[in-house]
């Protein structure tokens, strides 16, 4: 099962790019986006015991609703954000209502199917979503591009930063805003987890029948958990759309959900603080494959993509086999569905 002796080649390669600030900004932006998404998964899977394989759909709905409202309907960027969050949340509730009554494995398959339906819709409803072209700024009419409002803000942040640091990286403001969001979301979730509401979620994870016997409306609580994850997913979706400057169906493949699962597992089940750490570690490794100049034969572009896929796969297999609680998680948080 070895991937060719070529995999060892990076050792012979210089690590110059590791001192490149662009590398770190790119790692930081992706890590932050996936930290936000993985926080939603932590709430669902880590603390409520619902295995949500549909995060990519919430991200897609967040990004697409925002881009469609701004580009097609001429809404202001700032107004489109709450509307997109609301749409994603509504979608989460609609999906959760029938499917949260199911057993964990059925729920996982159902959410994965739901995410694929959303992606199929994005690919095929061309008039609305641009199909396989995706949504991007119309160069003939650049006045209503979704990144415009963001670009203005971004520039003013960088003007301010320039007082201390000449020539900051262009993505620095995005990085700052994303990580402030990560911090706020982590704090809010940690606070919620300590509240009585959070204790009910854990009770549901440990023993749903017992929680029900205590008079808790368990489906209702699970629905709230899913809705919050939908909100976090859609926020991750916006930031991805701002980072990539396009909204494209391929950016919301099921793989995206499992990137977030890798982040979650790496950080540790049942630990909100671990998520940020897991995200940075995961994207450091994954972006590393892009930034380190691997020699072209044998490392073609598709092979580097394959390498990233293999790293994700091996990480999931290895962690599940040897350390299912992740690097910082607690062993007892991993007893799901036995």
């Amino acid at each position: 099962m070895s991937l060719d002796p070529g995999t060892l080649a990076p050792l012979a390669v210089t690590f110059e790019s590791l001192t490149d600030p662009d590398f770190w900004v790119s790692v930081g932006v992706l890590a932050g986006i996936y930290a936000i998404v993985a926080l939603g998964l932590q709430l669902n899977t880590g603390f409520t015991g619902i295995v949500n394989f549909g995060m990519a759909a919430f991200m897609a709905i967040g990004a697409y609703t925002m881009a469609i409202l701004v580009i097609k309907a001429g809404f202001s960027f700032w107004l489109s954000l709450p509307l997109a969050v609301g749409t994603s949340m509504l979608f989460g509730v609609l999906v959760g209502l029938p499917s949260l009554r199911l057993r964990a494995d059925y729920f996982a398959i159902a959410t994965l199917a739901m995410a694929e339906v959303v992606r199929l819709f994005a690919q095929n409803a061309r008039d609305l979503t641009g199909g396989n072209q995706g949504l991007f700024c119309d160069l003939d009419n650049p006045s209503n591009c979704y990144p415009n409002a963001w670009n203005d803000l971004s520039e003013s942040i960088n003007d301010f930063v320039a007082n201390f640091w000449s020539d900051p990286p262009t993505l620095l403001p995005l990085l700052l805003v994303i990580w402030i969001t990560v911090g706020l979301a982590t704090l809010a979730l940690t606070y919620l987890q300590r509240s009585p509401w959070g204790r009910v979620l854990r009770a549901i994870r440990e023993d749903e029948d017992a929680a029900q016997a205590l008079g808790k409306n368990t489906v209702g609580f699970k629905l709230q958990s899913l809705a919050i994850a939908a909100v976090l997913g859609s926020i991750g979706g916006f930031f991805l759309a701002l980072d990539l400057r396009t909204v494209h169906p391929l950016d919301f493949e099921p793989l995206v959900t499992f990137f977030a699962f890798s982040v979650l597992i790496l950080g540790g089940m049942g630990s909100y603080r671990g998520v940020a750490f897991g995200a940075v570690l995961f994207w450091f490794v994954l972006e590393g494959t892009r930034f380190i100049d691997l020699p072209d034969p044998p490392f073609t572009e598709t092979r580097i993509a394959a390498l990233r896929l293999a790293i994700t796969g091996l990480l999931l297999i290895g962690l599940m086999a040897f350390r299912p609680q992740g690097l910082f998680g607690k062993r007892e948080e991993m007893v799901l569905g036995e």
């Binding site: 099962m1 991937l3 060719d4 899977t45 295995v51 029938p98 499917s99 199911l102 057993r103 964990a104 494995d105 059925y106 996982a108 398959i109 159902a110 994965l112 199917a113 739901m114 694929e116 339906v117 199929l120 690919q123 095929n124 099921p254 793989l255 499992f258 699962f261 597992i265 073609t300 598709t302 092979r303 993509a305 394959a306 390498l307 896929l309 293999a310 994700t312 796969g313 091996l314 990480l315 999931l316 297999i317 290895g318 599940m320 086999a321 299912p324 991993m334 007893v335 799901l336 569905g337 036995e338």
Partner: protein, 336 residues
């Protein structure tokens, strides 16, 4: 007034009887629904179009069914939701490509090699991953994420060696056979025949042989089967050989009527899951029938909606089944 009372007394009783009947034999309900869809389509689009798309549906259905039988056996016996099953199909397809195109040998040899290689792959992972994980009493989330990791790893290996380029097997895609006024592609005909013959053979084997009986015993209760003196390890190995060989075959058939890409199997996985759930988890016959039904429904859908949307049919079936009857049309009402 009296007539009203009479109908009031009779109707609930009849509804009750019907509901009772449907509860015990839900596949009857499914059959009625399919028949109604068939009649509606014939009325709207004509018998010829319905039959023509139906033939396409049978070849797609054979692929779904072959994939679903293995997935459902593994799911039922080992309680493993194997998300890597789709990539078993891809692996089989590329193994056949290796023999058939790279080495220029006949496809028949490619098919055999694909089945053998994929069966060995199934055994390998049983030995390396699933056996040890069962011994550790791994939880559901551990196993499901591990199978997803395995799916990515397999896809990565295929992408490493064969890149993402779209490839085709060396099959005749142009000549067609005329049959009752239907134009059927030669390859497609072979796919339907091979698929149906293999499926019947598998069905008979599961029903008539001792191995099939043992598999069903394990599926009911693995520990009880072990207590009853069944060599569970051997049966589990046979299950993987079955699942692997059928997945390999399904992959080659899918590649023969479409093309080869590293995502081939992962894209087939969700309709195959739909067949597994519709047929009732662990029920090989259910998976067989459900795979065929979903294949035919998918192709029939192209008569009324744009073909771009046909993949959604499998998902739609999945969602409807999960909402209405998660134990499947053949499944017994266990705790879902």
């Amino acid at each position: 007034m009296e007539a009203g009372q009479l109908t009031e007394r009779v109707t609930p009783a009849m509804g009750e009887r019907l509901r009772e009947r449907l509860r015990r034999q839900p596949w009857l309900g499914a059959l009625v629904v399919i028949a109604l869809i068939f009649l509606a389509l014939v009325a709207g689009e004509g018998l010829h179009a319905v039959a023509q798309t139906g033939v396409n549906g049978l070849s797609l259905g054979a692929i779904y069914a072959l994939g679903a039988v293995g997935l459902t056996l593994v799911y039922g016996i080992l309680r493993l939701v194997n998300f890597a099953h789709g990539d078993f199909l891809t692996f089989g397809a590329y193994m056949a490509y290796l023999i058939n195109v790279t080495w220029g040998m006949p496809l028949v040899i490619g098919v055999f090699w694909a089945m053998v290689a994929t069966a060995l792959l199934g055994l390998l992972f049983e030995r390396l991953l699933w056996g040890p994980m069962r011994a550790k009493r791994a939880g559901f989330l551990q196993l499901i994420l591990m199978s997803i990791g395995l799916a990515f790893l397999l896809r990565a290996i295929i992408q490493w060696f064969w890149s993402t380029e779209i490839r085709v097997l060396d099959v005749n895609t142009t000549s067609t056979v005329e049959f009752l006024g239907l134009r059927i592609g030669q390859t497609q005909l072979v796919v339907v025949i091979v698929g149906v013959v293999v499926l019947i053979a598998v069905g008979l084997m599961l029903r008539l042989t001792l191995l099939g009986k043992r598999m069903r015993a394990l599926s009911d209760d693995l520990e009880l089967a072990e207590t009853a003196g069944i060599d569970t390890r051997r049966v589990i190995n046979y299950t993987w050989i079955f699942a692997g060989a059928l997945a390999g075959l399904a992959g080659v058939l899918a590649a023969a009527i479409t093309d080869l890409r590293p995502e081939l199997g992962f894209e087939l996985l969700l309709p195959i899951f739909a067949a597994v759930i519709l047929g009732g988890i662990g029920d090989a016959f259910g998976a067989l029938a459900a795979g065929m039904v979903i294949g035919v429904m998918t192709e029939w859908s192209t008569l009324v909606i744009d073909a771009r949307w046909k993949t959604a049919v499998g998902f739609l079936v999945l969602v409807i089944v999960l909402i209405i009857r998660p134990q499947g049309i053949f499944g017994r009402a266990k705790a879902i």
